[in-house]
């Protein structure tokens, strides 16, 4: 594969063409914060955590959706980017009702980790405290909207990998919600195959298997990418 030269955080690198900035950074051991990205799923650039500065481009671009190009000079950890990442993190926490101490994902949650990584010591914005439902109608799984951060990883895992299209998004603005079918209880879905991919794709404690308690959640988000690889081998 042809190589191109780029500079990321003052490091000169020879990298493959055709890959995204995020892929290159991961391969080169440069950490980029992400939330809506999950290997194996189409990237949507929604969480804005992976924004990077590129010389000669007057706006910040999401590393997950921007293809690397020759001679790009990229900065991933400037003061500005760190400040914005912290605001994003605070807005995530203020948007819905995240109470780590009683959450099944406590200690294993990507959102919680983001809080630590962005050195968020407190939240400067007023909590919105929206009224959110908990859908326990599915025999095995629970969807708790209080903990959902609208990354849409479940929506994409269900549509792109399982092909069931059970999950979708309704409403707009801060009132968006993930819905099952046409906003019916998950247990009454006619499309859900109960495959559990959404459970593993979810970065927080928003979707989880029943019969576990605080801190017991075990997720394997990497199974999405593994599954795609295995399918390729079968072909």
């Amino acid at each position: 594969m042809p190589k191109i030269s780029v500079t990321i955080d003052d490091k000169k690198l020879d990298v493959d063409v055709g890959k995204t900035i995020l892929e290159i950074c991961k391969e080169s051991g440069i950490e980029i914060l992400t939330m809506c990205h999950l290997k194996g799923l189409t990237d949507v650039g929604a969480c804005r955590l992976c924004l990077v500065e590129i010389e000669g481009i007057n706006k910040l671009l999401s590393a997950c959706t921007t293809k690397i190009a020759a001679n790009m000079i990229i900065r991933t950890k400037t003061e500005k980017i760190k400040r914005y990442q912290r605001i994003t993190s605070e807005l995530f926490f203020a948007e819905r009702n995240h109470v780590c101490s009683v959450c099944v994902a406590n200690g294993k949650c990507d959102l919680q980790k983001l809080g630590y990584k962005t050195e968020m010591d407190h939240i400067r914005y007023p909590y919105l405290f929206p009224e959110c439902n908990v859908d326990t109608s599915h025999p095995w799984y629970v969807l708790d909207h209080n903990r959902c951060i609208m990354c849409t990883r479940c929506v994409r895992a269900c549509g792109e990998v399982e092909g069931a299209h059970n999950w979708n998004v309704m409403n707009r603005g801060y009132q968006v919600r993930v819905i099952s079918d046409f906003d019916t209880p998950w247990g009454e879905s006619v499309t859900c195959t109960s495959c559990g991919k959404c459970v593993h794709a979810c970065p927080t404690g928003a979707i989880w298997p029943k019969a576990i308690v605080q801190g017991q959640l075990e997720k394997k988000p990497e199974i999405i990418a593994e599954l795609i690889e295995k399918r390729k081998m079968n072909l």
Partner: protein, 546 residues
């Protein structure tokens, strides 16, 4: 139908116009504004009155598109005298016809602007309202019947299409548009010719042309009036664009709140296909192009090009990050040219008169004319078209007739919820892309809301933030949560409960949302807040509790 057949129709129509048996043409404005004030009833009554008096042999009564001063409607215009009557009521039609057509003594009290000018003009073209304007995109709006393709043909309609198909190569068309220095009228001001060239250069068996008619700014109705008043002009512009970039299929995305525009544009498509200026083998050439209408379902964000494309594809109307730009990967992943209604409306005059002619109009960096929708506390609200570089003062005072009730001008909001305000000390700013940007506002699509001293600027910022909060698609975090947070903080300050820390948070969030949002909606949502902070900071400071 081939080229000769079309020429025959045009000659026949032109001959009919020249040997016109009618001595008078009576135009009744049937744009959405005048219809809502009762112009359809006026049209009916006028037609009846003409028949009753036995004048049908010499007076032709037609329904036209928008004439401009919408809040003075219903408007009727007598040609060739160019005498316009305003606020026409069914009860004074008899008298108007008697005095104007029989006695030839116009009723001065009912003429356009009679209630605000010391002496109204019998020939409306003499009025500063029209004198300061220059109509290119709106040229035939208000003169022709938008529901008759023949009316358009007589006024050089589809002449530009004929010219490009038989005398110009796609490269030459693009060169002409580039020479005109026209910039996209949707708001961002991207050079039109450059956009066309980019799409042209991508090699693909399938390309698309999209007309963005999802005009959603509060107080803006430029695209609606163009689509209602002269739909064929837009269709011709799209067809020329398709020829230039190599597209065979087009979509006109028109918002659902514009039923009349949709109806007239669909009718225009039908008529154009019948005459062979649209569809397969246009004018007997190898070139084929078809257009379909797609109706927007009331989401402001669908005016953003990538969201609009998703909506046409049948998906949820949410934007996606660019690059790739639609020119490379647009509708169904194919190279797509997407331009605004007003941009397409300006294409055929450029082809007919040459790029140089267009580039001589306006300012060095912003060529041509711009349509503005005047609204708010202005005497003559409605639709105007002026050369780029006309000052705000000329627009508000010379054309718009000044502030309602003799009030004092405080600020004008340009660009709607994505734009900013211009305070009184900058009344002499030239209205072009760069000047407005340097003041912290934007040209936008052309909405211009005038405010007087009674306007509370913090509340103005709160209003536009509420709009953006409601219209945010909810995909990216900065826009979804940021607009909600900023709105809540603004509301708190409006209620005089805000603190200095709230103001600091607000400013920090504004910059964050502007820089981090995924699409233009979020990136420009803080503009009204930032520009009112810049020009009217004291109004915020006065509300702060320590």
């Amino acid at each position: 139908m081939n080229r000769q057949d079309l020429q025959t129709i045009i000659y026949a129509e032109k001959a009919k116009e020249q040997n016109n048996k009618y001595k008078h043409k009576l135009c009744v404005c049937c744009g959405a504004g005048c219809i809502s004030s009762g112009s359809e009833e006026v049209l009916k009554k006028l037609q009846e009155e003409v028949v009753t008096r036995g004048l049908e042999a010499e007076v032709e009564v037609i329904a036209t598109g928008c004439m401009g001063p919408c809040n003075q409607g219903p408007l009727i215009k007598f040609l060739p005298e160019y005498t316009i009557y305003q606020k026409v009521d069914c009860s004074n039609i008899k008298e108007i016809v008697q005095r104007q057509l029989i006695e030839k003594k116009p009723i001065e009290d009912l003429l356009l602007f009679a209630d605000s000018r010391t002496k109204p003009f019998i020939d409306a073209r003499e009025d500063p309202y029209y004198k300061k304007q220059m109509k290119i995109a709106l040229k035939n709006c208000g003169h022709i019947n938008p529901e008759r393709i023949e009316d358009y043909l007589v006024h050089d309609g589809y002449h530009a299409l004929d010219k490009v198909l038989f005398q110009m190569s796609p490269e030459e068309v693009i060169a002409e548009i580039k020479q005109s220095r026209m910039r996209g009228r949707g708001g961002a001001g991207y050079p039109t010719g450059l956009k066309w060239e980019t799409v042209y250069k991508y090699v693909s068996p399938q390309k698309y042309v999209i007309c963005n008619g999802d005009e959603g700014d509060p107080g803006a109705f430029m695209d609606r009036s163009v689509l209602e008043g002269n739909p064929h002009r837009v269709l011709e512009g799209m067809t020329i664009a398709a020829y230039a970039v190599g597209a065979t299929k087009g979509f006109a995305y028109i918002r659902g709140e514009y039923p009349l525009a949709i109806k007239r544009f669909e009718l225009a498509i039908k008529q154009a296909k019948k005459l062979g200026v649209l569809g397969n083998n246009i004018l007997g050439t190898e070139f084929s192009f078809d257009v379909e209408v797609r109706i927007g379902a009331g989401a402001f964000v669908c005016g953003e090009e990538t969201a609009l494309i998703a909506s046409i594809e049948g998906k949820r109307g949410t934007p996606r990050p660019r690059p790739p730009f639609p020119a490379e990967s647009g509708l169904w992943g194919k190279p797509t040219l997407i331009n605004n209604v007003e941009t397409f409306a300006g294409i055929s005059p450029i082809i007919n008169n040459g790029g140089e002619w267009y580039s001589d109009i306006g300012t060095p960096k912003s060529a041509g004319t711009k349509v503005f929708a005047l609204a708010g506390k202005i005497n003559y609200s409605g639709l105007i078209e002026v050369p780029m570089g006309t000052t705000l003062r000329e627009i508000v005072f010379d054309i718009g007739g000044g502030i309602q009730g003799g009030g004092e001008f405080k600020a004008a909001q340009t660009g709607g919820p994505s734009g900013g305000c211009i305070p009184a000390e900058y009344l002499d700013v030239k209205m072009d892309y760069e000047s407005l940007t340097s003041l912290g506002s934007i040209m936008g699509s052309g909405g211009l809301i005038v405010m007087d001293q009674s306007s509370d600027m913090v509340d103005v910022a709160r209003y536009f933030m509420e709009f953006c909060m409601d219209e945010s698609c909810g995909k990216c975090v900065p826009c979804r949560v940021g607009t909600k947070m900023m709105h809540d903080l603004l509301k708190k300050i409006c209620e005089e409960k805000g603190t200095r820390i709230d103001l600091e948070r607000l400013e920090e969030l504004a910059v964050y949302v502007r820089e981090c949002s995924l699409c233009g909606l979020g990136a420009s949502a803080p503009n009204p807040l930032l520009s009112t902070l810049r020009h009217f900071r004291h109004e915020y400071e006065n509300r702060i509790t320590e």
